[in-house]
Amino acid sequence: MTAFRGLSSFLYGRRGFYLALLLLPPLLWLGIVYLGSLLALLLQSFYAIDEFTARIVPTLTLATYYQLLSHPANVDIILRTLAMAVAVTLAAAVVAFPVANYMARYAGPRMKALFYVGVMMPMWTSYLVKVYAWRLVLAKQGVFSWFVDQLGMTPALEQALATPVIGGPSLASSYLGMFVVFVYMWLPFMILPLAAALERVPESLLQASADLGASPRQTFRHVILPLALPGLAAGSVFTFSLTLGDYIIPSVVGAPGYFIGMMVYQQQGTAGNLPLAAAFSVVPILLIGAYLALAKRLGAFDAL
């Protein structure tokens, strides 16, 4: 007991030392394991594969980056992934808004609690299980086609699947299907910050707007939407970055076209071109960094 007291007295006056002592283990871990790996990744992207021996040549070079950016196929992959990320973000915002709006502004206390748990449960359900579930649902003869059949909308579905680029032989192997799965997966991440932002809009503002003569639509456009923007920005950070980096969903549900994530996974595995994989993964880091800067400007970090 007295030994502890002595130590306590010693540390009490030396706050800096005490903090350093506390931070050292976790900092060492995160610093070495995590930061170290990130540096290793960056380093790898500056190496290149020797074409003849198929081994990594440990000399710094820009050859891999050149390979990344000069092959039209690679650029295609990046653009395709970016396009999907943007599309998913927009769609998620549109689908999430009615849910978040209802939750935040109209639902009574019990309904609100129900909605919150209702939105969080799928979020907490295993990622892989959800992907698998969609595989089942979208498969031929699966739930979705049964549903569409019941509604008599099968011709409409076939029309959609016949659309070039986004269509395909079945929903489970088309960009359309992939798009739906992405929106599903990240929807809770968009709903929750949006609901939080909407909830923070004071009732008095809406009353003032109505009092001054604005119709509900005008109030929505001029008061609610601008104030909800930080929530939208925050949610979009998730949908954007999660879509950009995902490699499992495109592999399980989707068209043959490659996405960044798939390239990274494939290049480090069968193709054995770790430097190229590393270079590919730097792209999402940069894109996400840029997006975060943009989102910060829109107030996303205050909404989190």
Partner: protein, 270 residues
Amino acid sequence: MRSRRPWNSASPGQRLAAFAGLAFLHFPVWVILLYAFTTEDRSYQFPPPGLTLHWFAVTFAREDIWAALRLSLAVAAVATAIALVMGTLAAFALARSRFRGREAITLLFVLPIALPGIVTGIALLSAFKLGGIQTGFWTIVAGHATFCIVIVHNNVIARLRRLPPSWIEASMDLGADGAQTFRYVLLPQIATALLAGGMLAFALSFDEIIVTLFTAGHEKTLPIWFFNELFRPRERPITNVVAVTVMLVTLVPILLAYWLTRQGHADEQT
């Protein structure tokens, strides 16, 4: 022209849209639950021709599934243990202090969940290759522990920030040194946060696939076993049963963690 509803209640259309969105979020999960009981074993036919418990028995007789399950549990346990210690240390250091470099360190604690899993995965793999480290149990743990530390830290620091500093001062004022203050005053208060953080970390580690695919090498955690089945669905019903199992094992701790944090919030209103 003006409806007779009170002006701040939802229109039927808005209500429908909200519930439709919620239904959209839920139905795939219910579908999986249903499929675990189907009698049909060759396709994903809907509606299922019949219901049975047969596949549950078959699944739990499989040794490879048990091996994968044991590995997943072991990894999750070790990663959570590491995370509880490191995350708590970091939370205590960062809760209320002001020092140069604090912003940078806070950023460091956000990165593992801010950057996509694939970046973490490939980064770790690059490091292992560069360092000549063999992939295996400990490389998996290394990857998991990293984001688990962040989760525990977030939970504990949120709780610490809500703790009035006067409590710590009062304890010391009454004669308790640092260790006693921690034991008698702080620990009871952060207990729920530790438990919640720990369970969340456990569940997320158990379910982890994105980083694990890079760091596991030849080892097979349950998610990896499951992932392989996605591409070579030999026995669909067994896969369905495993899916339901994974879902329950991860959902239950998370629900408990959520309930604990809510309880903690309620208890704090003194």
